[in-house]
């Protein structure tokens, strides 16, 4: 860049201040860029200084003459900016580079430059590739695949599981509901029965008469006997506790219970004291263990 004769001198030189820049981070005149950087409104790290140099050189090339003053000014400014930017980018490495011999430092810088050029080249390749592959449309999901769930369980024995399941799958034993349906046979049935027995005989042995019946029937039968005695239709004898109960037809014939015919119990005896005031017929039909 040693300016030959004839290049010095006046004329419309290149104004560094008015140098129009079109960079990624900044677009406008150079002096505005400087002002912004100095006021720290623009981060120098975002500014492509090489772009400024290129723009300046291209502007120079458009001129017929070399503006030495402008070149000098530009060199000073761009060198300052470079140093500022270098300090901003590599705050920790100033010492590292300073320790290197000038040749080594140059090599290191060259290495970085080369790296940068490769990155530039790769970016161009990517841009072209994108242009070539731009007509490929495909489905996109926010999460491509759910991560595989790691099962936190220890290894399990399938046989043990099968055993447990088999135990659970077995039908439980039927629960007996017999007690819920426990019903006393109607006392009236035994009233009639004992009346007819006493029509044929004057006396009978209670235990023998009910011998073939189950406990519930025997209980109903006993209630019937008590009922008949209360109505005065028979008399009872028992020699001792747990001794056989002897039933005897009452000698008095004028009993009020006498006309009572089966199914037509209009003259039913009054309710026994333990049955309160409810109608006897109902109770006879619906006695359960609980109500007894």
């Amino acid at each position: 860049m040693s300016g030959g004769a004839g290049f010095a001198g006046g004329g419309a030189g290149v104004s560094v201040q008015e140098l129009e820049l079109d960079l990624d981070a900044f677009e406008g005149p150079f002096d505005l860029l400087l002002a912004l950087v100095l006021k720290e409104e623009l981060d120098l790290r975002d500014v492509d200084l090489a772009g400024i140099v290129t723009a300046f050189l291209e502007r120079l090339a458009e001129r017929e003459e070399l503006d030495l003053e402008a070149c000098g000014e530009f060199l000073v400014l761009i060198a300052a900016l470079l140093e500022l930017k270098a300090r901003a980018l590599f705050p920790d490495e100033t010492a590292e580079l300073a320790e290197l011999e000038p040749e080594e430092a140059a090599e290191e810088l060259a290495r970085r430059l080369a790296e940068y050029r490769r990155a530039k080249e790769a970016a161009v390749w990517l841009r072209d590739r994108l242009a070539g592959e731009g007509d490929r449309f495909f489905r996109l999901g926010p999460a491509p695949l759910a991560p595989k769930v790691e099962t936190p369980l220890a290894p399990q024995d399938p046989d043990a599981l099968a055993r447990m399941l088999r135990a659970l799958a077995q039908e439980p034993p039927d629960v007996s509901l017999a007690h819920m349906a426990l019903r006393f046979p109607p006392v009236s049935q035994f009233l009639e029965r004992f009346r007819s027995v006493l029509r044929g005989r004057t006396r009978f042995d209670f235990d023998t008469e009910v011998g073939g019946l189950n406990r519930l029937e025997q209980a109903s039968a006993f209630l019937a006997v008590l009922e008949l005695r209360r109505a005065g239709e028979l008399t009872l004898e028992q020699a001792a506790p747990f001794a056989p109960i002897r039933v005897k037809r009452a000698t008095l014939e004028a009993s009020p219970a006498k006309p009572a015919a089966p199914g037509q119990k209009t003259a039913a005896p009054a309710a026994p004291p333990w049955q309160e005031n409810t109608a006897q017929e109902e109770r006879n039909d619906s006695w359960t263990v609980r109500s007894a």
């Binding site: 790290r45 050189l57 090339a61 530039k120 790769a122 990517l126 007509d135 490929r136 449309f137």
Partner: protein, 200 residues
């Protein structure tokens, strides 16, 4: 019988191809042969011929859907012929308006990754924070651990989506880069032109 008899293995292969077809149409990302084999409950060795069968069926100029081998797996995409129709209805946020700075950063991560933001700034000579954030948001790069040094910076690597967007089977498909040579020569030539103009 207007169709030739098919061998039983061919029938089975056709059956497997149908299963793969179903898996691929559901997938939102490429599926590897192993993933396909596992999902189809079949052998990887059988999945590959079945994929070839599908590849013949779903090919450019034969079908609106095209099977492609991309990002280490297999995926369906729209055929290139239908790109205009697709573009009228669908957006492609991952690749829309990628700035030169973003492409440069993407290139650095693709070639040198996993690498950190300071690494990228060192190579580019400008801070990479916003470009990195932008690429992460697009899903083209993702965090991949930290620098080994204590309190190390987060490192980034490209994602399968990057490979898919750029139509790469894998990162190894990226071209080897020439050394500075050509580029430096071009700059030197430019400077010479400038100098000659001046001396003329």
């Amino acid at each position: 019988m207007d169709r030739p008899l098919r061998l039983i293995p061919g029938d089975a292969l056709d059956r497997l191809a149908r299963t793969l077809e179903a898996l691929l149409v559901i997938a939102s990302a490429p599926l590897s042969v192993d993933e396909l084999a596992e999902a189809a409950d079949d052998d990887p060795e059988r999945v590959e011929p079945a994929l070839r069968l599908l590849g013949e069926r779903f090919a450019e100029e034969r079908s609106g859907i095209v099977l492609e081998h991309v990002a280490g797996g297999w995926a369906f995409r729209a055929s290139r012929e239908e790109a205009d129709a697709c573009a009228r209805l669908f957006e492609r946020p991952a690749q829309r308006n990628l700035s030169p700075a973003a492409l440069e950063t993407l290139a650095i991560v693709a070639y040198t990754g996993p690498c950190s933001r300071p690494d990228i700034a060192r190579i580019r000579g400008v801070a990479a924070d916003s470009a990195v954030a932008n690429l992460v948001e697009r899903g083209l790069i993702a965090e991949a651990g930290r620098d080994s040094a204590a309190g190390g910076a987060v490192r980034y690597r490209t994602t399968p989506l990057f490979e898919r967007v750029f139509g790469l089977e894998s990162l190894s498909e990226l071209p080897r880069l020439e050394d500075v040579g050509a580029d430096a020569r071009e700059i030197r030539d430019r400077l010479h032109v400038v100098a000659e103009k001046r001396s003329a």
